[in-house]
């Protein structure tokens, strides 16, 4: 093997540090690698000379938008600043590590994070989506945790656009093909179709892992003389420049295909890597560990060294290669998947190698931790990188990008749905309302997502207590006590387009509500901020407002952001996507046996509507179906959300509800249908009284998207207690119906009755019709 690298080493004219110092006028392709003139000048200033080719490769990927957060950093600070002591009490590891860690109690800790893999998933949907799962799972392993579940929020273009099928089939098959092979249940996600995502689909991936407190690992290289090892898959030519060239620029059809910048995944290698790492953790065989994702070895060496207390020196020809013709710069930039880097004390080297041999995982010792404070990378003994690792990993450029409220925002908000051209002929008669409900539940965004979720394994692991289509995914952590976690992800790009500040808060409110609806206590937040180009002041304003809104709302709800990801440049030409801050909320169960499913099954139970309904149709699914987007996003009332959450959590804990479903997109109409179809059990509902109380008509009652609402099914024996609890908290509640197992239909009294079979056909037919 070593012969190969020796041969290849001789093929290049290696640009050493010595050479760089001696040849200051050599022109380097910094622009092709994605650096701007001012950034290249900064690199020269930091080094006091021109960079070597290898150094340029490292700076170009690490200073990319994707890795450095240079446009968002100034705003993201708010997530760390708007935090109270109370919010910090369960945070074991905060923002900045691979993923934040939250205390679950009983010595257990949980880590979760959501990330984007948008650009690769458009270029090559299967591999893009697959490696998105792979990357986020390695982030979780890097913290010392066993990954226990994944979720995937997706946004694609118009359902009937020919290219949507390409992206949809590829991405879903990729998530399934990779995730199913890892033994991780897929417990939920989202699926939204909108033409605004046609050229920029969003493929976000979330992973959650659990560990004992003492097993938490951090990514740092400490301890003079400790060994640095690279293990897992070999390094190949895939994904070179993925972070810089692909994820940090807008697509432009006039340029060559960027396919070589997409990584290729091998889920079998990842599964073996997971088990192998867990065995290393169990034996306390590593001092520090870092996964190789964006920016590959550049990122892993510079971050480990920067976070450590010394320096690091590695020999790059020791890296095991899939392709022996790779140049040093390519090796440093390659984003080949299924690789990890670890720091091992000399005493543990033999034990480390034994674990590698057991799992037949390849590894190579690259170098060691030094006391110089420098990151030195050599090629056959010649120094090709000599940098202060902080300047690569942490002290990249930071931009205060100009932003301003767009001049079209006022006109957009003034264009309300009610009274618009698209609102003409609003359904009013019983027949029209029935047709409207059927149209809504068959629509691309509200239809059943079984076609997708049936391609994912939700059972593996044996700890899945709830999964899609319930409001939150629920996983048991401790088999003895039933201690567990709930997770939900949400975002509404239309709301956020209408009002970025409140739209981001609505995403948080819905995820919070979903977790509480399942019965879990919300604890922590991870976010994936998907936006257009930060160089557009309109987009930058959306981003700034969304971050300000989200951080304010986290403070008000008392749950901290523990990590996340920013994905910018999601735009085609000058058209950005709707600002789409996907928010994941993690909740805690003392015992997941208390979880509340989203549908009713017991005949005779009373159905209650919690909350009040206002005429809020702007940005709604109904308005979307009519082709209208304008007006004001639904009103945010976080205090109301908190009160609703407490009621739902208490009701679940004390056995007062057997079903609960939050009201969000599609309003009450969607919720009633979904809760009936969940366990194929119908209901009789009367809306006159509650509509009169709220002063709205039946259409508004059914289709408005007012927040802070949920429906619950209450056993007869619990009705008094449940009512008393709501009354004592002065929370509006109304008995709107009863579960009717015999009827086999959803009966909205005085309006219409639809058999469940007809609802099911409408709800479940849409995705198979379009995607086969």
């Amino acid at each position: 093997m070593s012969d190969v690298s020796t041969d290849s080493a001789q093929k290049f004219n290696i640009d050493t540090v010595e050479n760089a110092a001696a040849t200051p006028d050599v022109q380097l392709p910094w622009a092709e690698l994605g650096l701007k003139q001012n950034e290249y000048d900064d690199v020269v200033k930091v080094l006091g000379r021109r960079p070597t080719g290898a150094e340029l490769a490292m700076y170009s990927v690490m200073w990319s938008e994707h890795c450095s957060y240079k446009s968002s950093k100034n705003h993201l600070r708010q997530f760390g600043e708007k935090v109270t002591e109370e919010m910090k009490k369960d945070m074991l590891v905060g923002i900045g590590e691979n993923a934040g860690v939250t205390n679950l109690g009983d010595g257990w800790a949980v880590t979760f994070k959501i990330e984007s893999h948008n650009s690769p998933s458009f270029v090559e949907p299967y591999q893009g989506a697959a490696t998105g799962i792979g990357g986020i799972v390695r982030d979780i392993i890097s913290m010392g945790a066993r990954p226990v579940a994944v979720m995937d929020p997706l946004r694609f273009g118009a359902i009937d656009h020919p290219d949507t099928a390409r992206v949809m089939h590829g991405a879903v098959a990729g998530i399934g093909g990779y995730g199913n092979s890892l033994g991780l249940p897929n417990i939920g996600g989202e699926m939204v179709f909108d033409p605004i995502y046609q050229g920029n689909p969003l493929v976000n991936a979330l992973a959650v892992g659990v560990m004992r407190h003492e097993d938490i690992r951090l990514a740092n290289a400490s301890g003079l003389g400790n060994k640095v090892v690279l293990f897992g898959a070999r390094t190949g030519g895939d994904g070179i420049g993925g972070a810089s060239v692909l994820a940090s620029e807008s697509f432009d059809s006039t340029k060559p295909s960027k396919r070589p910048a997409v990584q290729v995944g091998d889920p079998f290698a990842e599964k073996v890597l997971i088990e192998c790492c867990l065995e290393l953790f169990k034996g306390s065989l590593v001092e520090g560990i870092q996964d190789l994702g964006a920016a590959g070895i550049s990122c892993a060496t510079s971050e480990l060294a920067s976070n450590g207390d010394g320096g690091m020196e590695v020999e790059l020809t020791s890296v095991l290669l899939r392709d022996p013709t790779l140049t040093p710069g390519e090796i440093l930039m390659s984003e080949s998947q299924e690789r990890m880097m670890a720091v091992v004390s000399p005493g543990n080297v033999a034990a480390f190698e034994a674990v590698m041999d057991k799992w037949a995982v390849e590894y190579s010792w690259l170098g060691e931790v030094t006391g110089t404070g420098r990151l030195i990378i050599k090629w056959e003994g010649e120094v090709i990188v000599d940098v202060d690792p902080r300047t690569v990993a942490h002290d990249g450029p930071v931009y205060d990008r100009p932003y301003a409220r767009p001049d079209w925002q006022d006109a957009l908000q003034a264009d309300t749905f009610t009274g618009s051209v698209q609102d003409a002929g609003r359904p009013a008669t019983p027949e029209e309302l029935k047709a409207a409900v059927l149209e809504l539940i068959a629509s691309p965004n509200m239809c059943s997502k079984d076609w997708i979720t049936n391609q994912y394994d939700r059972y593996v692991g044996g700890n899945t207590a709830m999964a899609f289509p319930d409001d939150a995914g629920v996983v048991r952590v401790d088999e003895e006590t039933g201690l567990g976690v709930a997770l939900a992800t949400d975002a509404n790009g239309r709301y956020t387009f209408l009002d970025p500040y409140h739209g981001a808060q609505l995403a948080l409110a819905e995820a919070y509500r979903n977790v509480a609806t399942s019965g879990a206590i919300p604890m922590a937040v991870s976010d994936c901020l998907n936006f257009g180009s930060p160089e557009d002041p309109d987009v930058m304003w959306q981003l700034a407002e969304a971050i300000r809104g989200l951080s304010d709302a986290c403070m008000e709800l008392g749950i901290p952001v523990t990590g996340g990801n920013v994905s910018l440049y999601n735009q085609t030409g000058s058209t950005p996507i709707h600002p789409t801050p996907v928010v994941a909320v993690l909740g805690r169960f003392d015992d997941v046996a208390r979880r509340t499913p989203s549908g009713w099954a017991e005949d005779g139970q009373a159905i209650y509507l919690l909350g009040t309904t206002a005429a809020e149709l702007d940005g709604s699914e109904w308005a979307n179906l009519r082709g209208h987007l304008g007006g004001a996003a639904p009103k945010v009332d976080l205090q109301r959300e908190r009160e609703l959450g407490e009621i739902l959590i208490n009701a679940s804990r004390d056995g007062m509800v057997d079903a609960a479903h939050d009201l969000s997109e599609g309003g009450l109409a969607a919720a009633l249908v979904e809760s009936s179809l969940r366990f194929n059990t119908g209901a009789r509902v009367a809306l006159d009284e509650v509509a009169a109380r709220d002063g709205v008509d039946t259409f508004t009652m059914l289709f408005s998207e007012t927040q802070g609402r949920a429906i619950v099914a209450v056993p007869r024996s619990e009705e008094v207690r449940f009512n008393d609890m709501c009354t004592a908290r002065r929370f509006p509640v109304s008995r709107i119906g009863v579960v009717d197992a015999a009827g086999g239909a959803l009966d909205i009294q005085g309006l219409f009755t639809v058999p469940l079979d007809e609802l099911r056909e409408a709800h479940e037919g849409t995705l198979p019709k379009h995607f086969g």
Binding site: G107, R146, V148, A173, G176, G177, N180, S181, L182, G183, V210, R212, E214, D215, D266, P267, F268, A269, K271, V272, E275, L278, K282, S284, W359, A360, T453, N454, Q455, Y456, D457, R458, Y459, V460, G461, G462, N463, T464, A465, M466, R476, V477, E479, E480, V592, A593, P597, F679
Partner: protein, 250 residues
């Protein structure tokens, strides 16, 4: 450092005294996914689960073996094609064919491995709809006289999860006729055939009835709240069946 249990692995000595000391091995290959789940099902049934490693050359004196689901060796080449050459598989084949009639259950990838190892006839190809499919599946117990099905009634319908990409059971007509004639079709899919399997076959046994393979996952229907429909535990019968067999009841 204290050794802490991973998800899905119980601390030693937990769960009370194992039933009559029955020890049931669960094989792990690189790429196996449902091994912890199979071990949990064994424990729930009252027996002791024993971890077996594919590279081992001894069965460690276990009383029965489960080859769980997953993607052994990534299912590269063909599902189960590489795993059958593991050192432990030779031991399993010998023990299953010996007079001792070691009970062997292959679930999903385990079933695929058993066909590759020629303990069971036929093979699995990609689902006819070409997609991975995960759903709750009704099965009819066609033969309740095997080591792994004797706790069920003949003709009983049970619901367990189904989840696979390569689940379409195929064999030549002569083999299928022989399986039917000898009563070796252990399970059939009820309702719509989920993958195009010949004659709706979900699982089969060998002639002696000690080796059973099926594509659906009974180990995911042993605890109320974690199986089909939030309540289903229909899969537990597999694991109590083998205890009946080992205790000489059936």
């Amino acid at each position: 450092m204290t050794e802490t249990p991973l998800i899905g692995s119980y601390p030693a000595g937990q769960g009370g005294a194992p039933l009559n000391g029955a020890r049931i091995g669960v094989v792990t290959f690189p790429g196996t996914l449902d091994d912890r789940d199979a071990a949990r099902a064994v424990r729930v049934s009252g027996a002791t689960a024993v971890e077996l490693w594919h590279g081992d050359s001894s069965l460690g004196g276990v009383d029965a073996v489960i080859i769980p689901g997953g993607f052994s060796y990534g299912d590269y080449l063909r599902a189960g094609a590489i795993a059958r050459f593991a050192p432990l598989m030779a031991k399993i084949v010998d023990a299953a064919n010996s007079d001792a009639l070691l009970p062997v259950l292959g679930i999903c990838n385990g079933f695929q491995i058993l066909t590759e190892a020629h303990l069971l006839p036929g093979s699995m190809i990609k689902n006819d709809h070409l997609k991975f499919l995960c759903r709750d599946q009704v099965l009819r117990v066609e033969n309740n006289a095997t080591a792994w099905t004797n706790a069920y009634a003949a003709g009983q319908d049970i619901t367990v999860p189904l989840k696979n990409q390569d689940g379409q059971y195929i064999a030549d007509e002569k083999t299928l006729d022989a399986l039917e004639a000898e009563g070796r079709v252990a399970f059939r899919y009820v309702g719509a055939n989920p993958n195009g399997s010949r004659r709706d076959i979900a699982g089969i046994s060998n002639a002696a009835g000690n080796v059973v393979g099926l594509m659906p996952h009974p180990e995911h229907a042993v605890e109320a709240g974690y199986g089909p429909g939030h309540t289903g535990t229909d899969g537990l019968g597999f694991f109590t069946s083998v205890l009946n067999t080992l205790l000489g009841g059936k």
